[in-house]
C-alpha cells in the first residue's frame, strides 16, 4: 500500500519529466545515496571496500559507459577493455609527464583520449552492423593491448612494461585509505550516472535509441546516423576511459595491459546484458551481480562443503565457480532476456497495483 502514485499530480512538464516521477522512488534513491555515503563507510571493513565495493563502483561506471553504446545506440562493442586501457595509460602519462597534474584532470584527460580512440574505432559502425561490428571492435581490443606492450613510451620506458602510480590526492585530500578511495569513486560514479541519465532522456538520447530501434525511420525524421553513432561512441568511450583510469589508479595501483584484456570486455558485456540493456540502473545491477557472484561462490562453496563434511579442493571450487557462473548467465537470459532492470520494473508495477493483480 505504501507504493502508490495516486494523488501525486504533475502540474508542470518539468515535474513530469523528472528522473523519478514517483515520490517514493525519489525518497528511496535519496536514502540509498545517504546509506552509501554515511552508513557504508561505518559498517564495511577493508576487504569489503577493496575487494567488493570499489571494484563494483568502477565496473558499474564502465558498464554504464558500455550500456550507452550497446544498450541505447545498439552498437555492439567487444573492445571495451581497449578503451579502458587507453583511459588508464593516457591518464598515467599525464600524471608522470606533467608535474603537479591533479588526479581528477588526469582522469578526465584519460577519458578524452579514450574518446578519440573510441570515435576512431567507431567509424566502421557507419558501415558495419551487428555481429560483424562486434568482431570488428575486437580489432581495437587486440591492437591497443599490443600497442601498450610494444611502445615503451606509453609505459614511460619501464623495463617490464608494467606501470604504477601512488599517493593520489583530490585537491589536497589524500586518497590512500579504502574509505577515501571508495568515496572518491562513489562521487565520480554518481556524477557520471546523473549525466548519463540526463543524456539518455534528452534529444541526443532519443536519437541514439531511434538509431537502435529503426535506423531508416530515424534518418527520415532528420537524425544523422553518423552523428548519433559517433556521439554514442564518444560518450561511451569517455566514460569507459575514466572507468579504466580509476580501475588502474584506484583499484590496482600497478597494472599491465593484461588488466584490460578481452575477458574484461566480455565481463562488461555480461554486466549490461544481465543488468539490462538500455537501462542506467541495470548497469549497476549487472555490475553488482558479476562482481559479487564469483567472490561469493568462491568463498561459499568450500564453506558449504565443510558444513556437509566434504572438503572441496581449490581447483574444484574454481571449476564449480565457472560452471555455476556460466549456468546462472544462461538461466538469467532465459528467465529475463531484458535483464534484472526489467525484473525490477515489473516488480514495481506489480507493487503499484498491489493487491490487485492487474
Amino acid at each position: 500500500m505504501l507504493y502508490r502514485e495516486n494523488g501525486q499530480f504533475k502540474t508542470s512538464y518539468r515535474a513530469d519529466q523528472q528522473v523519478f516521477p514517483i515520490t517514493q522512488d525519489r525518497a528511496a534513491i535519496g536514502l540509498l545515496l545517504a546509506l552509501a555515503v554515511f552508513a557504508v563507510p561505518m559498517v564495511a571493513d577493508e576487504y569489503a571496500f577493496r575487494a567488493i565495493l570499489i571494484p563494483f563502483l568502477i565496473l558499474s561506471l564502465a558498464a554504464l559507459g558500455l550500456n550507452i553504446l550497446v544498450g541505447y545506440c545498439g552498437q555492439v562493442s567487444l573492445g571495451t577493455g581497449a578503451f579502458m586501457a587507453v583511459g588508464a595509460y593516457a591518464a598515467y602519462n599525464f600524471m608522470v609527464r606533467i608535474e603537479g597534474m591533479p588526479l581528477i584532470f588526469a582522469l578526465l584527460l584519460g577519458g578524452a583520449c579514450a574518446t578519440l580512440v573510441g570515435v576512431l574505432f567507431g567509424i566502421p559502425s557507419l558501415r558495419i552492423k551487428g555481429l560483424y561490428l562486434a568482431v570488428a571492435t575486437l580489432a581495437a581490443q587486440f591492437f591497443v593491448d599490443w600497442t601498450f606492450l610494444r611502445i615503451s613510451w606509453f609505459t614511460n620506458n619501464s623495463t617490464s612494461g608494467s606501470v604504477s602510480v601512488s599517493d593520489l590526492s583530490f585537491f589536497g585530500i589524500p586518497i590512500n585509505t579504502p574509505e577515501t578511495k571508495y568515496l572518491f569513486c562513489l562521487a565520480i560514479v554518481v556524477v557520471f550516472a546523473i549525466a548519463a541519465k540526463n543524456l539518455v532522456r534528452s534529444h541526443i538520447g532519443r536519437e541514439w535509441m531511434a538509431i537502435r530501434d529503426m535506423d531508416v525511420a530515424a534518418a527520415v525524421i532528420g537524425i544523422r546516423p553518423v552523428y548519433a553513432k559517433l556521439t554514442a561512441f564518444a560518450v561511451s568511450s569517455f566514460i569507459v576511459g575514466v572507468a579504466g583510469a580509476l580501475w588502474a589508479f584506484v583499484h590496482l595501483g600497478s597494472w599491465e595491459p593484461a588488466a584490460f584484456s578481452i575477458d574484461r570486455s566480455f565481463q562488461l558485456l555480461f554486466m549490461i546484458i544481465i543488468g539490462g540493456l538500455g537501462s542506467i540502473m541495470g548497469s549497476f545491477f549487472g555490475a553488482a551481480f558479476i562482481v559479487v557472484l564469483p567472490i561469493f561462490l568462491n568463498q561459499f562453496l568450500p564453506a558449504a562443503g565443510a558444513v556437509v563434511g566434504v572438503d572441496i579442493s581449490t581447483a574444484m571450487v574454481a571449476h564449480a565457480e565457472l560452471m555455476i557462473f556460466g549456468g546462472l548467465i544462461v538461466f538469467f537470459l532465459i528467465v529475463e532476456p531484458h535483464g534484472l532492470a526489467r525484473l525490477w520494473s515489473t516488480a514495481k508495477e506489480k507493487l503499484r497495483l498491489w493487491p490487485f493483480p492487474h
Partner: protein
C-alpha cells in the same frame, strides 16, 4: 488546435483552402535494384495544400517512389524539385529539414520508446542544445525539453492518445501505433506529409478516424499531403488528384473522376482488385 470533426464519408471541402502552385515536382525517376526495375521514368507533381494520392497494385513501386523522395533510395535517373530546388538524389537529413515528413507502410516506430519520446524524436531537428548542456540539464536544455514537450502534448491531444502517453509503443494496438506514426511526422511541423498506406489493416472506425486526422491536418495547417492507399473509396473521397502506378510505370494521372474513367487504370487496377 481544436479538432473539428468532418465526416469521412463526405467529399473533401476544397473550399477553405486554395490549392497553390507546384511545390514538389518529380521528373523521369527510374530506380532499379540490380536487375529488378522498381520504377521507370516516373514524372508527376504535387501542388501546395492539395491531397495527392498514389495508387497501384502491390509491387507497383509506390513505396519505392516515396523512398526516393525521402532519400532512402537513390534513383539511377531523374530529378526531384522541391520549392524550386532541384536534386539528382535526396539526402534524408535535407529532406527533413526542408519540411517533408513521412509515415511508413509497415510501422517503423521506435519500439523501445514510449509514445511521448517517439513524438519528441520528431522534434530533434528543432532542438539545438549541445551535449554538455544536456548532460547537466542546464537551463537551456531544460527549457527546450519543456517547450517541445508542450508542442508534443498538442499533437497528443489532437490525435486523442492522451491515455497512452507513457506506454511503450510496442504495447499499443496496431491502429494506435499508426496514429503515433502520424504524430511523429506531424511533430516535424511538415509542409509536405508523405503517408504510406495510413489506413492499411484498419477497421472501418479506425479508417474514419484516420481520414479525419488527415483531412484536419490538411485543412488546419494547410499541409500538403501525398498518400499511398489501397482503399479506393477513401482515395476517391479525400484526394484532389491521383497518380496511378503499375509495374513501376505511370499509367494514369488526374482527378479521381478522370482516373476512374481511364481505360488502362480500369484494366490494370480497378478491374483486378475489389
Amino acid at each position: 488546435m481544436n479538432t473539428t470533426t468532418t465526416d469521412a464519408g463526405a467529399s473533401p471541402s476544397t473550399d477553405g483552402r486554395k490549392i497553390g502552385d507546384v511545390i514538389l515536382d518529380v521528373q523521369g525517376i527510374s530506380l532499379a535494384f540490380g536487375g529488378v526495375k522498381a520504377l521507370t521514368d516516373i514524372s508527376f507533381n504535387v501542388r501546395e495544400h492539395e491531397v495527392r494520392a498514389i495508387i497501384g497494385p502491390n509491387g507497383a513501386g509506390k513505396s519505392s517512389m516515396l523512398n526516393c523522395i525521402n532519400g532512402v533510395y537513390t534513383p539511377q535517373k531523374g530529378t526531384i524539385t522541391f520549392r524550386g530546388k532541384t536534386f539528382g538524389h535526396m539526402n534524408s537529413r535535407q529532406v527533413a529539414e526542408m519540411g517533408i515528413a513521412r509515415t511508413f507502410q509497415n510501422l517503423a516506430l521506435f519500439k523501445g520508446m514510449n509514445v511521448i519520446d517517439n513524438l519528441m524524436s520528431g522534434r530533434n531537428l528543432k532542438m539545438k542544445t549541445n551535449l554538455f548542456q544536456q548532460a547537466f540539464r542546464l537551463g537551456a536544455a531544460q527549457r527546450e525539453e519543456e517547450e517541445h514537450r508542450a508542442f508534443v502534448e498538442h499533437i497528443i491531444d489532437f490525435l486523442e492518445i492522451q491515455a497512452y502517453r507513457k506506454t511503450p509503443v510496442g504495447r499499443l494496438p496496431y491502429g494506435l501505433q499508426k496514429r503515433v506514426d502520424l504524430g511523429r511526422a506531424l511533430a516535424m511541423e511538415p509542409q509536405v506529409l508523405l503517408l504510406d498506406e495510413p489506413m492499411a489493416g484498419m477497421n472501418v472506425e479506425e479508417k474514419q478516424d484516420m481520414c479525419r486526422f488527415v483531412l484536419d491536418v490538411n485543412d488546419e495547417f494547410g499541409t500538403t499531403i501525398v498518400l499511398i492507399e489501397h482503399d479506393m473509396s477513401v482515395v476517391m473521397d479525400i484526394s484532389d488528384r491521383v497518380v496511378v502506378l503499375d509495374y513501376g510505370k505511370k499509367i494514369g494521372d488526374g482527378t479521381p473522376d478522370e482516373v476512374r474513367s481511364n481505360e488502362d487504370v480500369i484494366s490494370a487496377y480497378l478491374g483486378t482488385s475489389h
